[in-house]
């Protein structure tokens, strides 16, 4: 009796096709690209609406229920606008920068666990990968401003890079805190560790606070909106962007907001964990929405720092505090 090789091959082939389609769908649709884009628009709305309500304004109101479709409407409107490149600009970089600005946070989001403990892509060290991608985003910002050759853009991009020198090191330091506690540099493992024990925000509150401040700076939110300070340098590094490019820049910023809130939720708030009958994704969405609202609250409560004040504050206070947090963990507190 011999094996029916043809049948086995057919079966294997069938299974492989199903798996390929499933993984393609999970990357492209859910919880991949399309889901993340929808989430980006949703969080822009949450941020705008909550920020507006804090300021006693209405915020988005007319497009969709409570203006929930306003970010999408803005995006579509910008897509239809004239696309202008300044005469003296570096066309290639000017065109590529917005694409990178969207692609970098979007692809980074694949390593954050959303549906369960396991993310779409995971490997030992993906936490370092996320931090590296944050830096790449800032470098894209620099290139975007620099290539448009306007005075305002140039000042804005230089400020963005200077700002990065301030927040990047404390951010890297505190992000390592959860990794030490969980004994792994993989975000999925950190989330899994927290679901078995405590949320790390309870163990390392200082680290959570420092990461929040650093992410405010990364997102260029008040009080760190120095690179796009409207009253000083128009729109800063994005002054010369119009139409499609501006639409992509705005989308990129929304994705960065999703990434920042997802990172905070995963590292410190337990990420997408199982709780009773609620699916992990609902828990994840609740936590990230909370983080977005926390960031909006903070950005409504301050005035803008000057670049020198921001840098010296980061190096004088945040860096020692971040070091203190790591020392505390090593001494056995919060690990």
């Amino acid at each position: 009796m011999g094996l029916d090789y043809a049948a086995v091959e057919k079966e294997v082939h069938k299974r492989m096709t199903t798996e390929t389609i499933a993984s393609l769908l999970s990357i492209l649709v859910f919880p991949g690209a399309i889901f993340l884009l929808a989430l980006a628009f949703f969080y822009e709305w949450v941020d705008r609406k909550f920020f507006a309500r804090l300021q006693n304004r209405y915020g988005p109101l007319h497009t969709g229920p409570h203006g929930i479709l306003q970010p999408i409407a803005d995006f579509l409107k910008l897509l239809s606008k004239e696309d202008i490149s300044p005469h003296a600009s570096d066309r290639l970089v000017l065109t590529l920068a917005p694409i990178f600005y969207v692609a970098l946070p979007l692809s980074t989001l694949f390593v954050i666990p959303i549906l369960s403990y396991a993310s779409l892509i995971r490997f030992e060290g993906d936490l370092i990968f996320v931090l590296f991608m944050f830096t790449l985003v800032t470098i894209t910002v620099f290139l975007a401003g620099w290539s448009s050759t306007s005075r305002f853009s140039t000042i804005g991009s230089v400020r963005a890079t200077l700002q990065m020198l301030g927040y990047e090191i404390p951010m890297g330091l505190v992000a390592v805190g959860p990794a030490i506690a969980a004994g792994s540099l993989s975000i999925s493992r950190i989330v899994e560790w927290q679901s078995l024990r405590f949320w790390l925000v309870l163990l390392q509150p200082l680290g959570f606070a420092i990461l929040t401040v650093c992410l405010l700076a990364e997102l260029q939110f008040v009080p760190f909106d120095i690179p796009e300070a409207e009253t000083e340098i128009v729109a800063g590094w994005r002054t010369e962007f119009t139409g499609r490019k501006l639409a992509l820049l705005r989308l990129g910023k929304d994705l960065e907001l999703v990434l920042a809130s997802a990172l905070m939720a995963s590292l410190y708030l337990g990420g997408s964990q199982h709780f009773w009958l609620i699916p992990p994704i609902a828990i994840f969405l609740m936590k990230t929405t909370f983080v977005v609202m926390l960031l909006s609250l903070l950005r409504s409560a301050f005035a803008r720092f000057r670049i020198d004040q921001m840098l010296s504050g980061m190096w004088k206070y945040l860096l020692p505090l971040a070091t203190l947090q790591i020392i505390l963990i090593q001494l056995g507190f919060g690990g």
């Binding site: 008040v222 009080p223 009253t231 000083e232 301050f302 005035a303 670049i307 020198d308």
Partner: protein, 389 residues
């Protein structure tokens, strides 16, 4: 300090920090401002010439439109000048009503400024809150005069509308609300760390410089000099009303914020006192259309500082010459002094610190700073310039 790297950065005429067009040529070394050269005149409207072409009654409405924010200060100054030429005194009740309107306007103007200053340093929440509460004053104006901005209350020989009955109690109620809110903002300005970081020690103007550069209004008083036309040379009913002249000696933007916030609280007290002790009687006296020959200088304390009007009459129904010196013009030399040596990032807030109103200020005169020459273009020259490019 490297001297080879000085670059010239134009600030304006179009810039998000400027609500009206004006140009400042900044010489910048890195992030530090080395020198400032203002170029005025982008918003010239030919007001003074227009004064000569209209009758004295029509000119009240023209004076009102010199400024959108301190419109009442201009009409008070104008009517005061013309009344002096005529030799008439407005009735006592009219003088008190003028005080009430002037102080309401001061509240309106200062709260507007606090909001803008917050906006300049990126504190949009404070901006929104202050402007929301400013609506209370605008509603009061609408109730009193029917208009929110150009109240048209003054006329030669008195005021055009009375304040009485229901309106008084509504004003008092509104003032109570405003007082409570303004005390809160005063507290915020003094304690909020990011505001202190951006405002304290920024845009320094020493008392000596403030006097020698002829600064006026809150800008001068924030340098510790108690100078206020309301108390130094009382007009309307200010000699009968007790009030304090607010001054701070921080010489920086923070002091200018504090002076304006506290002045607003002082204004509330003045209005309360004026409403209580307003004498009864007529509100306007009849005056002739033709104004006797003569010339006169009139001054009032506008929200932004000392405002001077000059009128020359040749005995007809129209003035022969009219001249307005707005407080912003007086503060420009002091502004340049404040900007020098500061950071580029501080330009918007320092500039906003004098509460500039460029369209009130601009007169058409050409100044070449390098050659130190001044000249005025004729109509033919203008036409030649702009028709042939």
């Amino acid at each position: 300090m490297s001297h080879g790297s000085i670059i010239k950065v134009p600030f304006g005429p179009q810039h998000p920090a400027l609500k009206e067009p004006e140009n400042f040529l900044l010489e910048v070394d890195g992030e530090t401002v080395v020198d400032v050269k203002p170029r005025l005149g982008y918003n010239h409207r030919g007001m003074e010439k227009a004064f000569e072409l209209k009758t004295y009654i029509q000119n009240i409405y023209l004076a009102e439109r010199i400024c959108g924010i301190c419109s009442d200060a201009h009409t008070t100054c104008y009517t005061q000048a013309i009344e002096e030429l005529l030799g008439v005194e407005p009735p006592p009740r009219a003088r008190y009503i003028r005080v009430i309107i002037a102080e309401l306007e001061r509240i309106q103007s200062h709260t507007l400024w606090v909001g803008l200053a917050a906006h300049e340093i990126g504190f949009s929440t404070l901006f929104m809150y202050v402007w929301r509460d400013r609506e209370t004053v605008l509603d009061m104006f609408e109730m009193i005069s029917g208009n929110r901005i150009h109240y048209a209350m003054n006329t030669i020989g008195g005021v055009r509308r009375d304040i009485r009955g229901d309106i008084v109690s509504k004003i008092v109620k509104g003032l109570d609300f405003l007082e409570q809110r303004l005390e809160y903002y005063l507290d915020t300005v003094q304690t909020e760390q990011t505001i202190l970081k951006r405002a304290a020690g920024v845009g320094i103007l020493r008392p000596k410089d403030a006097v020698s550069l002829c600064a006026v209004g809150p800008t001068l008083r924030a340098s510790g000099i108690r100078n206020d036309v309301r108390s130094d040379d009382p007009y309307v009913a200010y000699d009968e009303i007790p009030f304090n002249v607010v001054a701070h000696d921080g010489c920086d933007v923070l002091s200018r914020m504090l002076v304006r916030c506290e002045e607003t609280l002082e204004s509330i007290k003045i209005i309360r006192y004026a409403l209580d002790s307003m004498p009864d009687g007529i509100i306007v006296v009849k005056v002739p259309k033709k104004i006797p020959r003569g010339e006169v200088v009139s001054r009032v304390e506008a929200p932004r500082g000392e405002l001077i009007h000059y009128a020359k009459s040749n005995g007809t129904a129209k003035p022969e010459r009219y001249k307005v010196r707005s407080p912003t013009l007086a503060n420009i030399p002091a502004l340049c002094k404040m900007l020098r040596g500061g950071y580029v990032a501080d330009i918007p807030i320092v500039l906003a610190g004098i509460d500039p109103c460029f369209s009130c200020m601009d007169r058409m005169a050409f100044v070449d700073i390098r050659k130190n020459e001044k000249w005025v273009w004729t109509m033919q020259q203008l036409r030649r310039k702009y028709t042939k490019g």
